[in-house]
Symmetry: C2
Subunit: 421 residues, 2 copies
């Protein structure tokens, strides 16, 4: 915010204040906090609610109702393999949560160690994990909970700042990995470009057992046909001799039903064999009936992509609406910048440093709930206190319009009060 912008906006302070006060009187109750699908999106998967019907055999003849098949139905392994660019043999299809697969993967590394590593990570008292920020709070929480120190690096428009990443991992063997959401990253919506993918796959790391937690949660979650391709990190890391470095994750949580979807992980043969060794003790196998339901719903990757197109049609107008209002209300003032993703679930909004917490509290007073300030940062602390995450998928168009206008008024009011400290 430059000085002239401050002067201009300060002269409108009383307008913004009366606008804000009129919102206060409306007793609104709007929620923009959660990255979750709307009811209309869930209805796209309505068929799941009566599947699999009489047909409990998988195409390969497995009675999905009974025990066994530790790594999931072969047909779903193929589907996720195609989605993630790996062979079906490199895939494990699990339960309803990829987040649980990530937690369990890291918990196993802590307890038992990983192929290519020297000791269980628990024996590394100074273990650390890189968190590109802003990022996904639940990722950061997992590594914090498991005793890692969280190291921030900046997120750019093309992925994490690779100069920072390379410098960190090169000398510190306590740094055991990095969190990545390579496509439509939560919350900025950026997509990793090919150079970033290549550098991640090939960089030299002091830890021999460094891991990239590649959470491709939004692989197919485009708003339209206009979307960037993501380079295949499995091939790049294989070529660089670092096949064990990459562990990919995906799920249908935001394709079908968030509570009742199917999750998968993919990695090198060695990592998959190691994971199965432990999974064989942790349980008897995933819910294969639910896997069959999903197979019947999608058929194949073409079917899955057709399904995701319908999601895009429902979601795009909501993102367009937020962008339009932000532009209308804030564009002229030069007090905020925000992302315009081509897919995913979030818009990341930066305002003047020091104002995010205040604005989010003001919005709350006016009945608009936003994700807590700092959530997308390690330890829940935004060092600049300027980032606001907007999640437009769940509310109706009307609610989005209202909530975004309230938010904009709060930003303008706070900016007009503050001399930009």
């Amino acid at each position: 915010m430059n000085d002239s912008a401050v002067r201009t906006i300060q002269s409108h302070h009383s307008d913004f204040l009366s606008q804000y006060q009129s919102f206060l009187s409306l007793n609104l109750s709007l929620d923009m906090t959660r990255g979750k699908p709307s009811a209309a999106q869930l209805d796209l998967s309505r068929r799941l609610m009566t599947l699999p019907g009489e047909d409990h055999l998988s195409p390969g003849g497995v009675d999905t109702r009974n025990y066994r098949v530790l790594d999931g139905l072969p047909e779903l392994k193929s589907l996720f393999g195609e989605l993630l660019g790996v062979d079906p043999g490199n895939v494990i299809v699990g339960g309803n949560s990829s987040l649980t697969m990530m937690y369990d993967t890291l918990q196993r590394a802590c307890q038992f160690g990983v192929p290519g590593g020297n000791t269980p990570w628990n024996t590394e008292p100074q273990r650390k994990f890189i968190c590109p920020t802003p990022g996904y709070d639940r990722h950061f929480l997992i590594t914090h909970h498991l005793g890692f120190e969280l190291i921030s690096v900046d997120m750019t428009d093309t992925g994490p700042d690779m100069n920072q990443v390379e410098k960190l991992v090169q000398h510190d063997s306590g740094i055991k990995g990095i969190w990545c959401v390579p496509k439509y990253s939560n919350p900025t919506g950026c997509c990793y470009d090919e150079e970033t993918v290549k550098r991640l796959a090939s960089m030299s790391t002091a830890a021999p057992d460094f891991k990239i937690m590649w959470d491709n949660a939004y692989a197919e979650h485009h708003f339209s046909d206009d979307h960037p391709a993501l380079a295949n990190i499995a091939s790049h890391s294989h070529q660089a001799g670092n096949a064990n470095r990459i562990i990919q994750f995906a799920s249908t949580s935001k394709m079908t039903l968030p509570g009742a979807g199917v999750a998968a992980m993919a990695s090198s043969e060695e990592n998959i064999a190691d994971a199965k060794k432990h999974l064989n003790v942790q349980g008897i196998g995933p819910d294969k009936v639910n896997q069959l339901r999903h197979l019947q719903l999608f058929g194949d990757l073409i079917g899955l992509r057709a399904h995701m197109k319908e999601h895009g049609k429902l979601v795009k107008p909501k993102f367009d609406l937020v962008d339009e209002i932000l532009q209308q209300e804030l564009g002229q003032w030069n007090i905020a910048s925000w992302t315009r993703p081509k897919g995913g679930y979030f818009i990341s909004l930066d305002i003047a440093p020091g104002l995010a917490k205040k604005v989010i509290e003001m919005a709350k007073q006016a009945g608009v709930k936003l994700t807590g300030a700092g959530a997308p940062f390690p330890y829940g602390k935004d060092p600049m206190d300027r980032n606001i995450r907007i999640a437009p998928t769940f509310p109706t168009m009307e609610d989005i319009q209202q909530a975004t206008r309230v938010l904009c008024t709060c930003i303008k009011l706070a900016s007009s009060e503050s001399p930009g400290e």
Copy 2:
């Protein structure tokens, strides 16, 4: 086996040999290894395959399709609470596997410690776990995998030998817990009597954070109305001031679908709050749609029990048949003893020491697969090499008849060869 029995049976050696050889020529392929429901049992839950239909709201109004509700649908918490004799607030309803809940519970204890304990169990290098034997191989495997030394105690007709248990736990603070299947124990089918339950609940333990892993897998799996009651270990431990000692588990794996059921755990408020704190990092919540399906199928505990009666009708004739053939073929020889459970999934058969491995191998040669010798013992080693686990639920009556006759012939042949060393 006494000397006169040996002399008598030895004189029939050639009969048994020719019987065995005639079985060999039949090229049988029969499987008595797995404690899994038959197709007819699975068909009892056919309705699950088209539920929940259009109705995705829980009775309490939760949209089961979306995120949240970490500890499961309240209505299912009530159902499992009633089943396990605790308040709904002391229950967590999870995914499709109680075994996974057990593994995760112990993994959390290793990584983080438990309420009332001093340190994470990982920091106890000499950690140990009591395994009543014969018992459930997958229980023992979990604790072995997590680095516990496995301590055998004898299983009696009324539960683990409590004199042995009390003596062990009294002085050794490295002993962190005991595995229990209190009703129709795997594989003997015994039920813990009230005295055993009370002693487990109230015994003094050197470890302040001693845990009873109370896997009530077969709580409702009676063959008929004639079945013993199980004392409420939650109340007894509460009365004894040891509420944190007990962690109960149950699942519908052998009520509905083994691969696609619903599992639950129950414990003290403190333990449940502690588990939720970690579960909140490990994931976003269980598959609530599948929980709703089960609620719709059962309705309540009365409905669940009516459902289990149908299972009993299908399973009882199979157990009766095995018992009848064992009696016919072995009764006169005094070379074996076996259990006659009133519910559950297994019959435990003891033959002369040193013969189990040999008999199981002979049966395999004749095309009859049995659970591997030693499986129900810590480290897979039966110190007496005499126990054979029989799992009669899955095969057809015809197959059971054939397989049990083969088994009996192998036992007689081996016993007639061996001087009972």
